[in-house]
Symmetry: C2
Subunit: 263 residues, 2 copies
């Protein structure tokens, strides 16, 4: 039995620009699927905020996306996933996908026992990756470590500089010395620095990019996807010019329709 594809957009939510790496991967795997990206640029970053605050902000974003009739919501922010995913799943009547579970699954599938996770302070503090990994395989050792300077390095366009390399060495050396065989990029900004991170960890450590793993999960969940050339839609809560500039660099193309919203 052939069914029609559901033409409604998928909502992709992030605190700012980092989730664009997830947007990019979804759009690569599902080229015909319209997407609405919501970046809460007025209140970025979430990484240093408390869980209660992040839950409140995420619910406001979810409400806004629901009003635009999305068929699924992707929480393309590790910090928001760590703090707010269960609440969002309980409150929304559409599927809500986070970025942590897919990354944890991919890491568990390849590790032989020791996984490193780099993320924001908020995500590390939540220990969400340790919990997600241990729920799948309790015997795996997980070392979580904050790498906050990676975010401004990515946003500044410094991902492939000597400074980024040096910062990566400082953040990653303890993990390499501890003998990790798998490294989860537990912040959606970090795929922008993937080349630099790979040079530092070498080829004995497998990189798990949660943007890729989340996009694969989304593809598996939505069934038949629309065809054609979709017009994507970008929503921000502040500073459109800055978003346009950084988004263009992250997506390696000019972004189209951009709208300033408030809630």
């Amino acid at each position: 039995m052939a069914t029609d594809s559901d033409e409604r957009p998928i909502g992709v939510f992030d605190s700012g620009v980092g989730g664009l790496t997830v947007f990019r991967e979804i759009s690569r795997l599902l080229p015909g699927q319209p997407l609405i990206y919501l970046g809460d640029s007025a209140r970025v970053p979430y990484g240093t905020k408390s869980a209660a605050t992040i839950i409140r902000y995420s619910l406001e974003a979810a409400q806004h996306l629901a009003e635009r009739d999305v068929k699924m919501m992707v929480v393309a922010c590790n910090t928001a996933t760590a703090a707010a995913l269960p609440t969002l799943q309980a409150r929304l009547s559409i599927p809500v996908v986070g970025v942590i579970e897919p990354g944890a699954r991919a890491a568990v599938a390849t590790t032989s026992g020791k996984i490193g996770v780099i993320a924001t302070e908020g995500t590390v503090k939540s220990q969400a990756y340790s919990r997600a990994i241990h729920a799948l395989r309790p015997d795996v050792e997980v070392i979580e470590s904050a790498a906050p300077l990676f975010v401004p390095l990515a946003e500044e366009g410094w991902a492939n500089t000597h400074v980024a390399r040096e910062v990566a060495e400082i953040y990653l050396s303890p993990l390499i010395d501890a003998g990790i065989d798998t490294l989860v990029l537990g912040c959606t900004h970090y795929p922008i620095l993937r080349g630099t991170i790979e040079k530092v960890v070498g080829d004995r450590v497998r990189i798990v990019d949660s943007a890729e793993t989340t996009a694969a999960l989304v593809k598996s969940l939505i069934g038949k996807s629309p065809t054609g050339t979709p017009e994507h839609h970008f929503l921000v809560t502040d500073a459109e010019d800055r978003f346009r500039r950084i988004a263009g660099a992250f997506l390696e193309q000019e972004i189209g329709k951009l709208e300033l919203i408030s809630f």
Copy 2:
């Protein structure tokens, strides 16, 4: 005629922790003066936000400080000063002091013609320093440049590392090559990196630290200040633990009374 000193506190407002450098200088110059520090840590950073948003946030903070009966409000954030100072001065019935005018005055007093200003993207975009300096001396050349990585470097406790030195060289070389003789630290985080910045610019460039110049202005304005050992009071809008940790490092001492507020 001897008058009694006004025992009411001075309110010091910043988007997060950067304004603590101003707090520190005021407390050094006026050791008996009680201070209330308000860090809007739920909405930090202001540097990437629009002027309209910054004005709205600053008015909320001002309202909160006014309810605590402060005798003066110091806007210890360059971005908030650039965007919101005239509005705050028009709406409040107490004196409101910003950090830009004192820095501009100090820079003009020492330059022989070419001033560099480093600040956040928001402050640079506002051109508030160029305007303030040109209002005092129209013939001076002003070169404004954004140095956004300095903020996370200061907050990470990396102010005196090799990475900070390298970042400082990248940001400051164009200014040094352009022949500046004076460098304004146009973000209240930057005094934390002053030692590194001084090493990079050398002794031919005079550093203007707006925390110092603002504290001197505050002292000149308040007249007779209270004596005794004041209990300072810290208010934040989110993430008290993170504030306590970074504030301790910035002030080089444990902070006392810390309260979570919302508005």
